[in-house]
Symmetry: C2
Subunit: 407 residues, 2 copies
């Protein structure tokens, strides 16, 4: 198997990008990655686009075919990879396999989504809910936020944990997002609280009091409130991949993709062996560790899929950083902050960087590349040499882990 290196990265601002369409975002991130890689456009063999719902959100099909034309990569092969909110991670895996197999020498992977133009209430959440089982779940009104609420209750009860610890994850991720110029929310929760006070909406002794106030932080899926869930965002992120043996041609600091794992679990959440354990993550992260000859304790930094803040706690356990039931407490104790035992989501995560569905899995890898190159600016994790991601397709029934390291 050929070894695969990342030699270029691109990342648009995430957020409410009113003057950009989906094709603009994919194209902006791609061109930035190509420029970053010092490759020549004409050499690309293949392009993989990860996006969840261009059909439903943008009335577009064939987005990969359209992209190669828009950015001048014809006649490169082009495919669109879909795996719900893990479409980006799956696109990275597809690009990896194209090079690992020897079918391609130079590959562009880009993930993106454009959603904030949709004004029909509930449209986006209903579209994402098409990932749930139509008969066992969806017809009863289940959605991804409702499962996140359920998981939070089960976790808090089983492990005698506190909702405040879950809030601490949001506080940390907003703190990190404030240091990330590409984040959707470049603001601490403290700054939201101060604004609310200035506007006369109330006064609060501390962040947790602010986060428990129904006026400023309404319930979304009990017990989860607004600041416990990620926003709807626009954005795109891109990678240029090549055979690791050629990597130095393009880039002084190539980063190796040394492990990739992907695993599935029951679609119906009720049928899982245990609600508070992400079995698919245990399997796929172990695949990635094994492939890279690494273990959780070798990781310097991680980007996890905190579409809901409870998920970061549970994932930090099932990816091997903490014992079961210890993840939320570890966050509360600061172990996952930049400078902590294992920094998680220095980018701000889905909570603060934002979550343009198909972009997320690629953006997680882009953040790790910046961290491993030492280019993460104010949110730099000291001397980060190895990192891992968790990218969620569906509610835990299709998960990818991608492990990267310095070459």
């Amino acid at each position: 198997m050929n070894k695969v290196a990342i030699v270029g990265v691109g990342h648009t601002k995430f957020g409410k990008l009113q003057d950009k369409g989906l094709m603009d975002l994919l194209s902006d991130a791609s061109l930035e990655a190509i420029q970053d890689s010092n490759t020549s456009d004409k050499n690309f063999d293949s392009v993989y686009v990860g996006a969840m719902s261009p059909s439903a959100f943008n009335n577009l099909s064939g987005v990969a075919s359209a992209l190669v034309d828009k950015i001048g990569l014809i006649p490169a092969a082009a495919d669109h990879i879909k795996n719900g909110p893990a479409s980006g991670g799956s696109a990275v895996k597809a690009g990896f396999q194209a090079i690992a197999s020897g079918m391609s020498d130079l590959v562009l992977v880009v993930g993106g989504e454009k959603m904030t133009h949709i004004t029909t209430p509930g449209y986006v959440t209903a579209n994402v809910a098409t990932l749930t089982h139509p008969e066992a779940e969806r017809r009863h009104g289940a959605s991804l936020p409702s499962f996140a609420g359920l998981l939070t209750r089960a976790y808090l009860e089983k492990y005698d944990a506190k909702l405040e610890w879950i809030s601490d994850i949001a506080i940390k991720n907003h703190k990190n997002g404030a240091l990330n110029p590409n984040a959707h929310f470049q603001r601490t929760i403290e700054s939201f609280m101060e604004s609310a006070m200035k506007k006369g909406k109330g006064t609060w002794e501390n962040l947790h009091e602010f986060l428990n106030d129904d006026k400023t932080n309404p319930i979304i899926a009990d017990p989860l409130r607004l600041f416990h869930v990620c926003p709807i965002s626009d954005g795109a992120a891109a990678l240029v991949l090549c055979n690791a043996e050629e990597a130095k041609k393009y880039c002084d600091t190539p980063i190796l993709i040394s492990g990739i794992g992907q695993a599935t679990d029951t679609q119906i959440v009720f049928e899982r062996e245990e609600l508070t354990t992400l079995k698919a993550l245990r399997i796929c992260s172990n695949q990635a560790y094994k492939m890279a000859h690494k273990s959780p304790k070798d990781m310097d930094v991680a980007e996890l899929h905190d579409a809901f803040e409870i998920l970061e706690a549970v994932q930090s356990e099932d990816i091997g950083f903490f014992q079961k039931g210890e993840g939320a407490k570890a966050a509360h104790e600061g172990l996952t902050e930049i400078g902590g035992k294992i920094p998680i989501n220095p980018s701000g995560g889905l909570k603060a960087r934002g979550h343009p569905l198909g972009a997320t899995g690629v953006a997680q890898v882009v953040e790790l590349v910046w961290q491993l190159r030492g280019e993460a600016g104010k949110r730099q994790v000291d001397n980060a040499k190895t990192g891992i991601t968790c990218n969620f397709g569906g509610f835990g029934n299709n998960i990818l882990s991608i492990l990267v390291e310095r070459m």
Copy 2:
């Protein structure tokens, strides 16, 4: 690069399948392929699903994740590959790369679509038209049938060809389809004419007179009429792929995928160098021939993408069987019939086998496997040892060719 073999195939009936949903079709074809391969379910590493629009047609996302659960392949990795009507071909390529890279040992590839339940007039054609350029094409009313009409006019004029020769392709494909128990239309056009006569709709001297009658064969996109275009169909087809070195463990007659090519061209049809030449097909078929160390004259049988009958003529030229401008005439002269110089679409093609978008690229390969194994029944091409496909995503702007041969 590991060599990749096909050790099992599955194929539902194509047509108007009123009592089956998309997940049923994907699952039926998959289980048939798994049974055909003598593999044990638990050994599958990866599943690739090719489907164009489960979101728009079936309100489903995460169809690959759902399928692994439905057919008991958890925790296999699962991804959904989209490339318009070439989603099936792209899924085959993804499965090929998974094994070629060494990331997977045993892979299920399935393509399918469920469309005939949709009763809103124009809904399916409008969805397929989301492949066209939104501003340069779609806003002016362009659709895939309209481009096919345009291409037909240009071809007939440029090469002094006759519309009757294009009709001859439809006549041949219906004749072949009548021999295929999985075809949507298992009827010759002669049989349609006889039925119309019995019903008192008219009398005709011969098939061409019948095919020129506005009552029985109305214009769809001038000069193309109903019998020049493929139907809207439901159906699914599946392959089991493994490392060729292991193939004899599962199957006495494994078939090798010895070449795969994929190339893109301008999205906007107007911007093509020449309307009547499919440049992407010339590139991707050459990639496939080169990879397999074969040339067009080595081919014993081909499955081409006759969504519109003009396409079979043009593809038969650009894939290297005939000189430019000779494809339609060659069909008229019978060179592409079973028993002819190069039998094309012994399955009945998209015209008669039907065209459940995502299924087609996989079904083409399944037909070649049956032909190469000598299991194609009444439509068997004598001693077929090597075959090639052409699968179209968009209107010629993203094309795959897959070359298979006996091991």
